[in-house]
């Protein structure tokens, strides 16, 4: 089969919680038009939503790139921001540096990165202090018609 890739790109700004979730909901609609299994779509958009929230909460801006191929859906979130000092610590459930304002909104449980990992078939995060953070997520595509194969 010829590999056909659909590429999508979104730019998001830090700071504005009202706009967080826009890219995830657009991508959800887009994926629903392809015959990707709803469970796979849910994993992809949940991971992306957590990433969007982290950009809004901690970074300045970011670019999201989605590549929908025949086998996989790849999501890259690359931000300009302060970066993460200790990635292992940040990945721990419960670790958070969220401000009190962010906590009041119900963010800051320290679960976002572990939610992202849990909803990814492959998860990679790298970060440079004072430059930014890049997250790469791959999920295998299960098509609805192939469900019982």
């Amino acid at each position: 089969m010829v590999e056909e890739t659909i590429s999508l790109q979104y730019k998001i700004d830090g700071g504005d919680f009202k706009k967080a979730g826009y890219a995830s909901s657009q991508i959800k609609k887009r994926l629903q038009k392809l015959n990707i299994h709803p469970k796979v779509i849910k994993k992809i958009v949940i991971a992306l939503y957590e990433a969007e929230i982290n950009v809004v909460a901690y970074a300045y801006d970011a670019v999201i790139r989605i590549e929908i191929g025949n086998e996989t859906v790849k999501v890259k979130i690359k931000d300009n921001g302060p970066g993460i000092q200790d990635i292992n610590q940040a990945m721990e459930k419960g670790y958070s540096t969220a401000s009190s304002k962010i906590r009041e909104m119900g963010f800051g449980a320290g679960m976002g990165l572990s939610n992202m990992k849990k909803n990814s078939d492959k998860f990679d995060i790298k970060s440079k202090i004072n430059e930014g953070t890049e997250i790469n997520i791959i999920n295998y595509r299960i098509n609805i018609k192939n469900e019982n194969n």
Partner: protein, 112 residues
């Protein structure tokens, strides 16, 4: 059970998303921590919370939740209400607290 049945049985106030009142509820989740809800709420759950901002709707939509109940007399912000109407995911209100509200819903859903 449908959302509308819960509304009638518990005397909940319909705050927005009326077109979604025929959604079916199966179970619920009570939490004010958004990433906890993202991790642990299940499709068609009713979500009991005091959070009123728009991200609540984003999560309800991404997780395909049945409805949201705002406890302690909380009201949704205007843009939360608008999003609820667009998504047809109802936001309901009660003066009761999270404990009482969860207990009553648990009881109703288990005696179905």
């Amino acid at each position: 059970m449908k959302i509308i049945d819960l509304v009638n049985k518990l005397g909940l106030e319909i705050l927005s998303g009326e077109n979604g009142l025929n959604r079916t509820v199966s179970g619920g989740y009570t939490s004010d921590l958004l990433s906890d809800v993202i991790a642990n709420a299940q499709e068609n759950n009713i979500w009991i919370t005091l959070q009123t901002h728009k991200n609540v709707m984003a999560i309800a939509s991404l997780k395909d939740l049945a409805a949201i109940i705002l406890i302690n007399g909380n009201k949704p912000e205007e843009d939360t209400r608008e999003q609820s109407n667009i998504e047809n995911i109802p936001i309901l209100g009660t003066k009761g607290n999270a404990f009482e509200t969860s207990a009553k819903i648990y009881e109703l859903l288990n005696n179905e």
